[in-house]
């Protein structure tokens, strides 16, 4: 039975997240974090105390067993406040795959610590010149004793400096998709981590693996069969990223609305000019239409259904919508929005970087085309 409302619990989650973040993660903090300051451990602890790290982790592992949709709703608020920090990487790129494919031992070892905020986890898949294709993964895991050693270079690894565990994709066979995922300790010998200078200062890294030893018990899923797992991680990550981006777009619209009501030119609030009103109508239609796509994708994932088409549609559209909305926001703010004193740049950066992460719009449209039977 159709229902476009959030449940009472979800409304509460959304509201409390919004209140918490507007208090604890003001945009001034976001600015300092962009400039390289550490994510405050105190804030991480508070987020943990609110149960965010364990939101979707089952009760038996110390979480609260929420749904994927709940997580998406939380992340819309995180995107609204563009709150950085390792929640996305740890929960979406770490906990979710362990929940889905981990052995009982792996789950027992990792999940309670993630729920408790004691473990940061991240994902190392992309490589130089290689993006979202199994064939282009060249990092190699060779057998050594009863384990493996990994050699290769990974790029765009988020939060690698803070992470305790890296989920690393490496080639274990000659066939295109013979890829294996390893849970690697960040402190293992042979790992070198170098920060990448990125547009949004969002802590992405180059991680070089040089003969890094890993035990075979640390394989996630089956050896040589990790590509579908990576696809699934990416699919879920794109949907959560869409939630973040829609939250950001909503924030841009809200900021611009407030400004358009107050700012006067030619003795009238600029929000009374039709040209400006039409920008807002376009923003709202763009945001509402896109929100439907990611919510539907998130709901399908929650229901355990195939969301390939929905996730691809959402990612293809939301990134571009966020960019369109942000550009209109800039147009409304005029010159002031083009300074570092104003917060618009924070959103502008993320509207672009979000569009690029986990495959840009064209890549996802290519997937939609496949799903259409083309």
């Amino acid at each position: 039975m159709m229902n476009f409302d959030l449940t009472e619990e979800q409304k509460l989650l959304k509201e409390s997240a919004r209140n918490f973040l507007s208090r604890e993660c003001p945009r001034d903090l976001v600015r300092t974090l962009e400039e390289g300051k550490e994510f405050p451990p105190e804030l991480w602890r508070k987020m943990t105390d609110l149960g965010w790290t364990g939101l979707i982790i089952p009760g038996e592992y110390g979480g609260s067993g929420g749904s994927f949709l709940d997580l998406a709703i939380l992340f819309e608020e995180i995107g609204y406040h563009i709150c950085p920090g390792p929640l996305f990487t740890t929960v979406v790129l770490g906990a979710l795959p362990v929940m889905a494919w981990g052995t009982p031992e792996q789950k027992e070892d990792i999940l309670p610590k993630i729920a408790g905020g004691e473990r940061i986890m991240t994902l190392a898949v992309d490589e130089p010149g290689a993006y979202r294709r199994a064939s282009s993964i060249t990092a190699k895991a060779s057998t050594a004793g009863d384990g493996f050693v990994i050699d290769g270079t990974k790029l765009f690894v988020p939060d690698a400096d803070r992470a305790d565990l890296l989920l690393c994709a490496a080639r274990t066979g000659a066939d295109e998709e013979e890829i294996t995922l390893f849970i690697v300790e960040k402190d293992a010998p042979g790992i070198t981590i170098t920060p990448l200078q990125t547009l949004a200062g969002d802590r992405q890294f180059e991680v070089v693996f040089n003969g890094v030893p890993v035990k075979k018990e640390r394989i996630l899923g089956e050896p040589d069969r990790a590509w579908p797992i990576i696809e699934d991680i990416h699919r879920k990550a794109t949907v959560i990223l869409c939630a973040e981006m829609i939250g950001g777009a909503q924030a841009v619209m809200d900021m611009s609305l407030e400004y358009a009501r107050e700012r006067t030119q030619f003795n009238r609030p600029i929000g009374s000019f039709q040209a400006i009103q039409h920008h807002f109508a376009n923003m709202l239609a763009d945001i509402s239409g896109s929100r439907y796509l990611f919510l539907k994708a998130a709901w399908k994932i929650s229901e355990g259904r195939d969301a390939s088409m929905d996730a691809a549609m959402a990612k293809a559209r939301v990134g571009e919508a966020y960019r369109r909305v942000t550009i209109l926001g800039h147009q409304i703010f005029g010159g002031i929005g083009f300074t570092k004193e104003h917060d618009m740049y924070l959103y502008h950066e993320r509207s672009m970087t979000g569009d690029l992460k986990f495959g840009g719009a064209d890549l996802h449209r290519a997937r939609v085309a496949e799903e259409l039977g083309l």
Binding site: T7, G271, S290, Y292, L293, R365, R367, L374
Partner: protein, 398 residues
């Protein structure tokens, strides 16, 4: 949150599918016009389809499907979602799901009219016995309906109507005008207008056809010269017609033919899979794939607005904002889609219906011309944006 239809709704959809298969003529696909969200190719507005459409309405009425969205006390099923399903399926088949009488007249009468009027008109509308045309626009009052000039003067048991309407879709094949006329010229804006039902056969009515940009006779100019309208034909209260129009517009804006979007997309996908350009299948061209994927995504967005608007109506909410976004987004997409479809067809796109080499029976070509009308009719895109900004987002008017 739940994006699924209920089992009952799913079985209703199957029932409508079967109905469409059984009741549409075997050569319907060859004959049917209809560009999604366009107003110039609406199925059933052409004279040659009148008889078929009249019969189809009776059949739909027999099943109770013309009143699905109405409250149950007036013979309805209380479900705008089901109504939307009917429109979705019928528009996929490019067939009319109803008429102005059932889509706009019925629900509005049920909300604002006297009991007597409800008793007289609702059952007839629900049975599909009569058709309305929408008498709003005038040559000098398109979007600004408060400035209409058509006068209805109180004269005993009747009103006497003088004036002119324009862009009157289907006036030539309908039975009654759903007419907005000025009943108190001295009243403040929005307070001196009244809706009344005017029999098309009344003495003093002249209907002059206008051929639209697609070469189709869908709309008209209509002249009223001392036309007498019984007072019992007034819908709701005298001088409160503007309120009823606003109410009716919500229903009107639900009509974007969401199924017709899916249909043309399906046809384009099939077309590129079997058509070669310079020895290569169009379906293998990355640019063509990108364009079609993009259209599929936007059509999914329209569906989101569509189902959400219908659902909100069922929740008892007045979806002012949502129905405007649906109308704005749907009609703008109609135009984009027509452009993209023409680009994909290439030079063959210019071949009209009946041409030997015309792809997809020349429908895209027709749709390209028709898609101009969507963002203009039933309140232009600019009007919708104004509604969204002021009523929806609370921006100042001055």
């Amino acid at each position: 949150m739940n994006f699924d239809f209920s089992e009952e709704e799913r079985s209703f959809r199957r029932e409508v599918e079967e109905f469409a298969k059984a009741e549409l003529p075997p050569d319907w696909d060859e004959k049917a016009l209809y560009w999604p969200a366009g107003y110039g190719t609406l199925p059933g507005l052409e004279e040659e389809f009148k008889e078929f459409h009249d019969e189809l309405l009776l059949k739909l009425g027999k099943r109770g499907w013309l009143s699905i969205g109405w409250p149950s006390e007036y013979g309805g099923m209380n479900s705008m979602v089901k109504h939307a399903i009917l429109d979705d399926v019928m528009s996929y088949h490019r067939a009319p799901p109803g008429d102005v009488s059932t889509a706009i007249g019925g629900p509005t009468i049920a909300k604002v009219a006297s009991d007597e009027m409800k008793r007289e008109w609702l059952p007839r509308i629900a049975r599909g016995e009569l058709r309305f045309w929408l008498g709003y626009s005038e040559p000098n009052a398109g979007s600004d309906l408060a400035s209409i000039k058509t006068r209805a003067v109180d004269d005993g048991d009747d009103f006497v109507v003088n004036g002119q309407k324009i862009w009157s879709s289907g006036a030539h094949i309908a039975d009654y005008a759903w007419l907005l006329a000025k009943t108190d010229p001295g009243a403040p804006k929005y307070r001196g207008e009244t809706i009344m039902l005017v029999d098309n056969r009344s003495p003093g009515i002249t209907i002059r056809p206008l051929e639209n940009i697609c070469g189709i006779h869908s709309f008209n100019e209509v002249f009223f010269d001392d036309v007498r309208v019984p007072k019992k034909n007034v819908v709701g209260n005298v001088n409160q017609g503007f309120y009823s129009v606003m109410l009716a517009l919500q229903y009107e804006r639900l009509f974007v033919g969401v199924g017709a979007f899916r249909r043309i997309l399906d046809e384009l996908v099939a077309y590129v899979k079997e058509t070669k350009s310079n020895g290569r299948l169009l379906a293998d061209d990355a640019l063509v794939r990108n364009k079609l994927a993009s259209m599929a995504i936007e059509i999914e967005v329209v569906s989101g607005f569509y189902w959400r608007t219908a659902w909100l109506m069922d929740q008892g909410t007045i979806p002012d904002l949502e129905s405007s976004m649906l109308k704005l987004f749907g009609t703008e997409l109609s135009r984009t889609l027509a452009g993209v479809a023409m680009e994909i067809l290439g030079p063959a796109g210019q071949l009209k219906r009946g041409s030997k080499w015309a792809p997809l029976r020349g429908l895209v070509n027709l749709g390209y011309m028709d898609s101009v009308s969507g963002p203009i009719g039933a309140g232009t895109s600019e009007v919708q944006r104004g509604i969204i900004a002021t009523r929806g987002l609370g921006l100042p008017r001055k």
